[in-house]
């Protein structure tokens, strides 16, 4: 009787062992695959800081596109600067500047944005994203690695020379 019980429990022990080892193996393979598939770090993309040029080369009220940096440099009438990411906040299409209508327009679902990046026409849910601007020795430096989301335009977002 006892041997039978012993036999049974040995079988159970082996079963449990195999089960546990298999589970461990699956977990390990899963972990390895997960790490393998990890996207590389996204920090500081687009080659980081773009020198947009001297401050005084942008007349007040102008909007200039920097296609490689993926942004528009806006010089507000009051003298402040904004760098807006050219990616539509709706679903990521590239916006274009329509000088005749004084607005940014996205052809994908027809969102439009004002000169400050505010939503004029949905479906875009929020104003255009901003890149940080610093001014050093009269040069405008736009940090394309640092994206700020905002709901709407406020004057404290402007950078002054």
């Amino acid at each position: 009787m006892t041997t039978q019980e012993n036999n049974l429990s040995r079988r159970d022990f082996l079963k449990l062992g195999i089960g546990a080892l298999s589970a461990l193996a699956v977990l390990e393979m899963g972990g390895v695959s997960l790490f393998f598939m990890q996207p590389r770090s996204l920090v500081g993309e687009f080659g980081g800081i773009v020198n947009a040029g001297p401050v005084d080369s942008f007349p007040a009220g102008s909007v200039v596109e920097f296609p490689d940096g993926r942004f528009f440099l806006i010089h507000a009438p009051d003298g402040g600067f904004l760098a807006v990411y050219s990616r539509c906040t709706h679903l990521g299409c590239t916006i274009s500047w329509e000088a005749d209508k004084n607005q940014f327009f996205c052809p994908c679902h027809a969102s439009s944005f004002s000169t400050t990046g505010d939503v004029q026409n949905p479906p875009a849910p929020r104003a255009l994203d901003l890149f940080a601007i610093t001014i050093e020795e009269g040069q405008l430096l736009v940090n394309t690695g640092s994206i700020t989301q905002r709901d709407r335009f406020t004057t404290d977002q402007l950078t002054y020379a």
Partner: protein, 446 residues
Amino acid sequence: MTEQKLTWKEKIFYTTPNDDRSRMRTVANNLILHIHPTKVAKPALRFSYTWGLGGISSVLVMFLILTGVLLMFRYDASVENAYTSIQYLETQVAFGALIRNIHHWSANLLVVTSFLHLIRVFLTGGFKKGRALNWALGLFLLTLVLAFNFTGYLLPWDQLAYWAITVGTSLLSYVPLVGTAVSNFLLGGPEVGQTTLRNFYAIHVAVLPAILILAMSFHFWRVRKDGGISQPEPGERERVEKVTTIPHLVQIELAATAVLTVVILVWAIFVPAPLEALANPSHPPNPAKAAWYFMGLQELLLHMHPLAAMLLPLTLFIGIALLPKLDTQEDNIGIYFRSHKGRFAALFGALIGTILVPLAVLLDEYWLDLPGLFPTWPTLITTGLIPLLATLAMFGLIYGYFRKAGKLNHSEAIVGLFSFIMTSFVTLTLIGIFFRGANMALVLPF
């Protein structure tokens, strides 16, 4: 042996034995044929019951695998070379354009046939009597088909590809909790680029085919385990006649495959698969449209906050997956529309769908401006929650109307509601395809 006079059927199947027992043995022992039972119920063979849609989908998958493997020998999944390798295929490779066209059109047709297959299974109650698992598997197959199309869409690296995938992956990032992680993984960077192309290629040619073949085998096996495809309950002392699979079923399958092959081939010879200009990340085309089968979703996106535009189909998807739990009346299995009243409900549902949807689109386009009415409310509420709840309430109303005013039972009312939802979806898709022009403004197609 004495000379026998052969009928034309026997001539076509001259290698198969012509007594029932050896025919049944052939089916059981043949690698391909053994997915069939040796005998099938005669009424299950009626073409106007299944419309052969599952079978046609299976054959299309076969075409796709054959042509897909060929394409892999000529395609180069790099941002620099992808577009040129397709151009090379189109102009220099012998039969390159033909193989690409067959692949392209089979993929498009597969979306249509698997969708219609779903509709037919729903209408005949094919998810009833223990078929809940296979219904769920079928939905999974449909998702796979869409995933195949989504990943394959990027590979030519033309304008269409680039912007459809940009929009698609941005949509993902609205999904709470996991969305951004999944979208980052797929993109492998801040925008669609080399890593994205490589990821999509690996998923399209390795991951998805492996899953699809397993899932399809599972699907077929379940059909047999569930006792063959659904049939009306036989009456009291009625016996369902059974016939041998060879030739009765195999013959239909061969004929359907032959017709399908000719149709696809002729279509592929005369209609080239589209290829637009090389992808240009700084200028989306205007209008930038998704693939046609995602145009219903795109149309929703014009009217709703992205989160709502995703929650609505998701809710419907879950509802459809749970259908076997929602409609448990089993005595109407195998009967199109459940009953005569159900047929009426389906017709009526389709009618209000085709009327209400264009009205709602026009209303939102020209008159209703919720964010303008409540400028201080977040868009998540004005263009998200409000239209979402209104749509769901509409579904409830229609169901209630069928139950109360139409005096239909639960099962029949669901047919009416399902018909309303599906026609609405198709109508939205048609509006997106034909009535949206430059700047996504409403236009007339003629």
